[in-house]
């Protein structure tokens, strides 16, 4: 069963009496352990697609299935639960809770999902070690470098063992070398867990780390996007 499926998904925003089409009959399939890079210019609808896949936005019409479940029928409360249990996010601007340590930023997710504290602590420690941050576990985000903060964000996204991880421009705030390292880390962690992921980027150099690259322009995806690799 594919991890993510979009069927004829449209998203239209209405601003100032004008309809703006952000997604236009989008069809997309991402397999269980597939890494898909979504490439497109600014305003092409990348972030909208990512937000719909993660239950942050609801489409104007069309169907979105994550792990076989149609999330377009979910209530706001169900979407919140869905985001907590089934999706991991890594945002463009490294959004860590500033008054929590690196370890606590991971444990927040476990508390939301009700994971037993011992299991959560073990999982957080394992992730921090894998991400090379075990020595930074007790540091606050302000005490971490940009690359370290992004690695904490990756750890947080994987903390709830999601079916789908969504990355929004994860390397845009990093230099090329650090960006490469982070992309390698993403690939290693995601593949190691056989988790599907969608990585939004406009940096073609980063697409080499994906299994498949899909282009999006003016809300339209490549014709073959609905065919998994």
């Amino acid at each position: 069963m594919p991890a993510l499926e979009f069927h004829e998904v449209n998203k239209t925003y209405r601003t100032g009496g004008t309809d703006i089409v952000a997604l236009d009959h989008a069809n997309l399939t991402v397999d269980d352990d597939e890494i898909v890079a979504l490439l497109g210019p600014s305003g092409s609808g990348k972030t909208t697609l990512l937000s719909i896949a993660g239950g942050l936005l609801t489409p104007t019409n069309g169907a979105v299935h994550v792990g076989g479940n149609d999330i377009t029928s979910y209530s706001a409360k169900e979407l919140t639960q869905f985001r907590a249990r089934s999706v991991g996010f890594v945002f463009q601007t490294v959004n860590l809770v500033p008054f929590l340590t690196a370890r606590e930023n991971l444990l927040v997710v476990a508390r939301i999902t009700g994971l037993p504290s011992k299991t959560a602590a073990r999982r957080a420690d394992t992730l921090l070690k894998e991400l090379g941050l075990d020595h930074r576990a007790q540091n606050l985000p302000t005490q971490l470098s940009g690359g370290e903060r992004q690695r904490v964000a990756i750890g947080r996204a994987l903390m709830n063992e999601p079916e789908l991880v969504l990355f929004d421009e994860p390397t845009s705030a990093l230099d090329t070398s650090l960006g490469e390292q982070v992309m390698e880390l993403i690939r290693k962690e995601v593949k190691g867990r056989e988790t599907a992921s969608v990585i939004v980027t406009h940096d073609t150099r980063m697409t080499a780390h994906a299994d498949r690259t899909i282009h999006i322009v003016d809300g339209r995806l490549d014709a073959g996007a609905a065919q998994p690799a």
Binding site: Y13, T15, I20, T47, T48, L50, S51, G54, L56, L57, K77, T80, Q81, F82, R83, A84, R85, F89, F91, Q92, N95, V97, P98, F99, L100, E104, V108, V109, R111, I112, T113, L140, R156, D168
Partner: protein, 366 residues
């Protein structure tokens, strides 16, 4: 809630801007409350001292102790009413007095009464008095003689009673004959006859309908019988004093709610990004609201502790003339009022939290 606690612990400085003003407001509420309690107790002790179930005023007294008059016949008629257990005549005189230890002439109350009850023991021997303990604070002691009124009638202090003052004046409790002698010697304009008092304190038989007994007394004598609470509130100035200071206290509680509301409105605005992130990763609005209310309550608690400590210090250095009553009950009232105001103020930000779009964490949406 853990997030809220972590923020309070890790970033205490950002809450100082709320806790500081709240501490001062708590101090104001406590101080005013203690002052109100002190004024109330100091004004009404002479009524509450008897532990009576009713006070019989003459019909033309319009609930004034000083205008009221009951005679021996009235007392006997009251005692004969079904359900009445005991009747004690009471009379008060407001006079100047030379009190040992005081340079100036002090205003005092000389109160005559017939029977023990409440905090009052049996009336003392003629020419002697149970003095309210506030006399002790002025420097008077057992065996000292107070010279009362223009006639300088001597009264010897033979013991202390607590919380018995009237109209914030220190009170000397004497037997009825001594009171009449003092009243007639010093207030020739208001002579009292033998057997005459101003009001009668009535106790009723246990388990009886007290209101029915009071009605029966009034029906028999054409008097006006008040409950203790009514008699207390009939004392000139007491209701006005309660209403005025009470209004300031309640207004301060509203200011507390506004301060908390404004602070958390600003902090919520500042936290929009964090709230959007937390909502994006699956935190419910309810959890965010609980965290906000928890923070408001903890800030209020810290302010209460700081304000309370400051208030106790101020209370301890205030002169004895300031009628402060440092009661635990008032502190609990202020704590509850501040907590309710803090919760109400913080909940004002709830709508803003609910309206934060989790998609804004990722930069999507319009």
């Amino acid at each position: 809630m853990r997030l809220a606690m972590r923020e309070l612990i890790r970033r205490p400085a950002r809450f100082v801007s709320a806790a500081g003003p709240l501490t001062l407001l708590v101090l104001l509420m406590l101080f005013l409350g203690w002052l109100l309690d002190g004024l109330f107790l100091g004004s009404t002790g002479a009524i509450r001292a008897h532990g009576a179930d009713g006070f019989v005023f003459s019909a033309d007294a319009r609930e004034s102790l000083l205008r009221s008059s009951v005679d021996e016949g009235d007392l006997n008629a009251i005692a004969a009413v079904d359900g009445v257990e005991s009747v004690s005549g009471i009379g008060v005189s407001l006079l100047g007095a030379e009190v040992p230890g005081e340079d100036d002439v002090a205003n005092v109350v000389v109160a005559g009464y017939q029977l023990a009850g409440g905090v009052l023991p049996e009336p003392p021997a003629p020419g002697t008095a149970w003095a309210d303990r506030q006399f002790n604070a002025l420097g008077a002691g057992i065996g000292d003689v107070v010279l009362v009124g223009p006639a300088a009638t001597p009264i010897e202090i033979v013991g202390w009673v607590d919380d018995t003052n009237y109209l914030l004046l220190n009170t000397l409790w004497v037997d009825p004959e001594t009171w009449r002698e003092i009243q007639n010697a010093n207030r020739p304009d208001a002579i009292v006859a033998p057997g005459e008092f101003q009001v009668a304190a009535v106790t009723t038989v246990d388990g009886i309908d007290e209101a029915a007994v009071r009605s029966a007394i009034d029906a028999t004598l054409g008097t006006e019988t008040l409950t203790e609470q009514e008699a207390v509130l009939a004392i000139p100035g007491v209701p006005e004093q309660n209403a005025t200071i009470g209004a300031v206290i309640y207004a301060t509680a509203v200011v507390v709610a506004l301060v908390v509301g404004l602070f958390f409105a600003l902090i919520t605005l500042e936290r929009t990004g964090i709230y959007a992130l937390l909502k994006a990763i699956g935190v419910h609005n309810r959890s965010l609201a609980v965290g906000l209310v928890t923070q408001a309550l903890l800030v209020a608690l810290v302010a209460f502790i700081a304000g309370g400590a400051f208030g106790l210090f101020l209370g301890s250095v205030m002169p004895a003339e300031v009628p402060l009553e440092l009661s635990v009950g008032r502190a609990v009232f202020v704590l509850i009022a501040v907590a309710v105001a803090a919760v109400a103020g913080s909940l004002a930000s709830l709508r803003r939290i609910v309206r934060i779009d989790p998609a804004s964490a990722i930069g999507a949406g319009v």
